[in-house]
Symmetry: D2
Subunit: 400 residues, 4 copies
């Protein structure tokens, strides 16, 4: 997910100190995530949708440099002008850039140099944040920059998992971070009545532009599971021939299964009769009661079909969410990622765009074990193409 | 569009004669469409989304053979058993089939043999339709088969246009069939009030499975154009640099423009300062007042962005449709093709599936100059991938 | 093989009548080859290396129009100027052209129109040939044009076999033309002494530019088989696991086998324990004593390796040829297609080029059952990429 | 070039000490080459034909482990058994392996771990080499292993150049290593008489299997340049429109130019009217008198065509070589890489194979500035596909 965003309305004024602390804490978490990495782990890009940790570190710093420091800090000098070319992600308005597929081909700047770049940006950001007058616009940009960085923290964790998990040596990341060992607390279904409901962000607290355009939807009555599908549930689907039965799959999903020869979720391996998977703790047995993770929309939809149920729409999810156990898996919905009524693309490069990704992607709701604090509100809209499964995604069912 | 379908509820009983007439009329229109073709025009497949006319002729006949005659006509013998392999489109449940990309690689069966096959099927279908007892299920299958054939008639016309229009000699199809010479009758916008509205097919008359699951939606107030965008409007967009301005495009749309080097709609050519296009009448000047045709969703969305407006959702369109001029262009909506609440995939091969195409496609509403009679109801849902533009597609705008 | 050519030295003067007869005979054989075809068979192109018969008919006529009539027949008017674009094969100097991969996407000109085009060219060629003065250069161009057409006759036969042989209905071409029913007359090996030998065309009679640069080579003593490998020999190789043993294959050959899943020569099918193949007479049992046909260089090289032998070089073949039985299979040699010493690319478009294909192709010597009369001289150099196998190719072995 | 090899005849016995010194010197040069690298430079693979330095370090060590230590050192334990999977290059007989295209996707083993692996192998190799009895076979394998490592040293240098030279920051490798600053010492042409000449390795000293099969060839008289083409010569070709003139190019070369948009050799950039290029010393002006480097066979052949000359055959080169200045550029010949008469593929995995690469590659003769000592003999046959240009390749002309 590459997202930029504009909060639509004025923020309350922050004391300088609080801003500096907030900034420092968010920035620190990024480097904390990298602590267990070897230098080489910062560099590689085994799939187009993965970015090297080195790139994430540079890109999140470039964001503050390009959108804040160069415009608002007098006499600021870019750490190294060519970095704008290296670390721009997709902002056409900000000039040309390294092809996404080439991010893993760059040995330079080195990890050390990227850390120096971060330090340079951090020192100047603190100078700026301690200055007397912080305009509302600047606080807005800061807010966006920090939320942006937190989104990249989530991507870093899942990208690192992909990098280590596709290595034939299957090395562990560390012994304590487990993205997948969560079990359900609840069971059963809850019923939501037919009616007109309010959807979207109300303006209290930060939200991305794609959450605004608060509006009303009509929902028919529905029953939604309180808990998520477990590994045991999904193993049943596999053992029942789920990956061999074209009837269960969307047509493009079936092609995806056949062309890739998939037989199970990513990271899963069958040894004799038992299932194992790669986790950030290393290669271990699949725990039946854990919530299923790392499945594509195609797999989620096929599983639901097999169960005779369906996925919720994003609106059903949002309305029901206050009564659900959620927050550990991004949950695929059966809603395409499209603008809310009244959505307007923000102007300028920083707003380039949630809007421009609103095609061929499906909405996920909830939050995952990899999500940063504050990224788990009821209105949050995540989105990915239906074939992707390296995020910590799961399945919640609705009765037909 | 490859669609099979099940009408969800019993049809009234038809007299034999009416059925025979209906069957004959629909079947005849298919061969009428082919009349201007040379034998060679029946054979080629210049793009994966195009099928040769020969294949359409065979496939629509195979449908009646496979789903009706082989099951319901005692002692029926297939005209040539291998044809099932050649003319199956995508029904996994009906056995293996020629790859879609290979349809244009087949010189046999010849066009003449395919016509013989049609005659064989028609003779036996008439035998069946004149038999004493026609079960409700059979009438349902017949209804589907004839609607299916009418959908293929529309595809045949647009496929033929693509076949002739991508030939360097740009040969005309005939002198009377014009798919694109329609002008608007109305102008201005109409306003629809906020409220809860009924959507979907009610069960009177035939409808596809994807129209059922009649349900309610809440709509905010909106203003929708009575008329469609014209060639003159679109030329303005082109001349204003629409195809060079990344800000206007969805990200995947921009890649599509750049990779293909597109500068105008399909079939359009600029000679000095004037625009020409290929039509079924031949190569002629673009008429400014005609309704724009043959654009992709990407182009429709970029144009709307440039105008500071947006496309309607399929629900807005359906609610407003009784007050709009429509029926000459399929109109791109800003709704993804997804199931209605309560949608259930029909069982069995004949119901393979609207449902399985419900991903990565956008809904079109209305009907086009290529549509068969009876394919222009308010609830009809057409759908295509956002990059396709060989259908007679157009743009209707909604104010932001 | 797309070859143009210049005979390097003056031809003796021909009487007009002889030229007209020669021209007529060659042109007639082309249309004779097409006689068993249905109109649809003229159109399709199931592989990039295949051209539709319609294209061959047009291209060979265009050759006479573009290189002779337009330059030498006063007031000649092109039959239809756009045909130059449609029927140019690869002559950069003659203007732009239809992409090779699009030849099968063209329904127009129709077969009938192409025959009219041939008639138009033939009428004017006869006018020209009956005129008083025929320059030496013109006779040279005529000679080239007719040899060129004969090469296309061979390609037409093998392209037609590919078109019908890849159709799921496996239709026969006719009952009398068999390209593959030849048995060996000889057996054993002959020994050729070490020495310096003359290679290449001497200038008596027509030869392509790539045969000139007559020169000397030194050969070490070698022993070469008088006969060709048979189907029975090759079945032994298959049954011994030849297609599963990477040791026998060139590295790129092994990739080719694995990526395509090949297990046998093209057109071969195993039913239970017996081998069948598609021939121009239809689908029949493989005859063990027939000479093997339709194998790639990769397969030829792997078979030779398995036998503990090798393929001859083109020089060994040429020196030994007077003592060999040959003329039914093009025989893969272990020589790359490269210029002879002293080779000079002919100037002008007609000489575009044997020379430009002299990379990544292997030389074949001999002639095949599909070759036209006069295309089986000792110095003739045919050439194809090592993965191609739709020609009537075979294997002759040399002892290591 | 990935080559394994067998010297065809017994080596004289070496004293232990000499072997240890030889081994140590060769192994040390590999790590010397890596000294200027940052850790990140060891990891990336920006093109399929490039391998990461880390992989070269591991692969050359694995060679000694797999072919010598595991077979000949009693009780040897592999450093880490999975490394066999990671560091096998293409030896089918040695088990499965990481896809070549995935070498740059592996962050583990780390560079440090690979150096530990090298140390482990070196310690045990020294143990072995100091043991009492060294069989002739073992000395042969050692000889191959060291020559193999030297070939990888050359690849490492050119791979590193590619890695740094395709980085947008264009970082220098070091200040002293220049692969391209060589000028010619001679000028003019020498003439070689027609005659029968001996070709190939005689058996004195090490040679690869592909050099054996010493044999005789007949050469016609020819004149060959003593010096190599310079940058100034090649700039003339560029400025004369060499890259825009299809007449000069092989057909596949012309496609290569057009599809890639090439306008100059790799690493070259034009700024206004001046040419610059990336070298291992950094980004500098092209020196006109330096020998041209880094061109593909396609470019070499087009240049020769433009000069009205040709490339030498590998036989001409070998016969003339004692009178030429050579050793700084691998020189493209107009000979395809094919076996010499009498060539036999060595048995077993270590001999997998020069032979199996003998298709679709062209021979280069000479040696380059990147070549290790001892890799510049008159009979040495290097070979690459005609589109590759990251080696230090050059052009020597022969008169037509």
């Amino acid at each position: 997910m590459e997202i930029s965003e504009l909060s639509p309305e004025p923020k309350q004024s922050y004391p300088h100190e609080a801003l500096v602390t907030w900034y420092s804490n968010v920035r620190k978490r990024t480097t904390d995530i990298c602590r267990p990495l070897k230098t080489e782990d910062y560099v590689v890009q085994p799939a187009i949708f993965v970015s090297p940790a080195k790139w994430h570190l540079g890109h999140t710093s470039w964001f503050f440099e390009a959108f804040i420091l160069e415009k608002s800090l007098p006499n600021y000098e870019a750490f190294y002008p060519s970095y704008a070319f290296v670390f721009n992600s997709y902002y056409n308005a900000m000039g040309s850039r390294v092809l996404r597929s080439d991010r893993g081909n760059l040995s330079r700047p080195t990890t050390h140099e990227v850390y120096q770049y971060r330090d340079h940006v951090d020192r100047h950001m603190k100078l700026l944040l301690e200055a007397v007058e912080l305009s509302e616009e600047l606080v807005d940009l800061l807010t966006i920059g920090l939320n942006h960085e937190q989104q990249h923290q989530e991507l870093m964790l899942t990208d690192i998992k992909y990098i280590l998990g596709s290595n034939p040596l299957l090395p562990a990341y560390d012994e304590t971070t487990s993205l997948v060992h969560q079990t359900n607390f609840s069971s059963g279904f809850i019923s939501i009545d037919e009616g007109v409901y309010a959807i979207g962000a109300s303006g209290d607290g930060f939200a991305y532009d794609n959450e605004f355009g608060a509006h009303k939807v009509f929902l028919h009555q529905f029953e939604i599971a309180k808990s998520l599908v477990t590994n045991a549930d999904y193993i049943e689907f596999i053992e029942a021939g789920g990956y061999e039965n074209s009837d269960l799959w969307l047509d493009e999903g079936w092609s995806w299964v056949q062309e890739n020869g998939y037989k199970a979720p990513i990271y899963w391996f069958k040894e004799e009769k038992n299932w194992f998977h790669y986790t950030l703790n290393g290669y271990i047995a699949v725990r039946p009661d854990d919530q299923l993770a790392h499945i594509s929309y195609y797999e989620a939809a096929a599983f639901a079909e097999w169960k005779g149920m369906r996925l919720p729409t994003e609106f059903e999810w949002e309305v029901a969410s206050s009564q659900l156990d959620w927050g550990t898996r991004w949950e695929w919905t059966n809603s395409a990622y499209l603008p809310y009524p009244g959505y307007v693309r923000p102007a300028g490069a920083v707003g380039e765009y949630n809007g421009k990704f609103m095609i061929n992607q499906m909405v996920l709701r909830g939050a995952s074990t990899a999500s940063a604090e504050g990224h788990s509100r009821h209105t949050y809209r995540n989105f990915f193409h239906p074939d992707l499964r390296w995020q910590v995604t799961g399945i919640r069912l609705v009765k037909k």
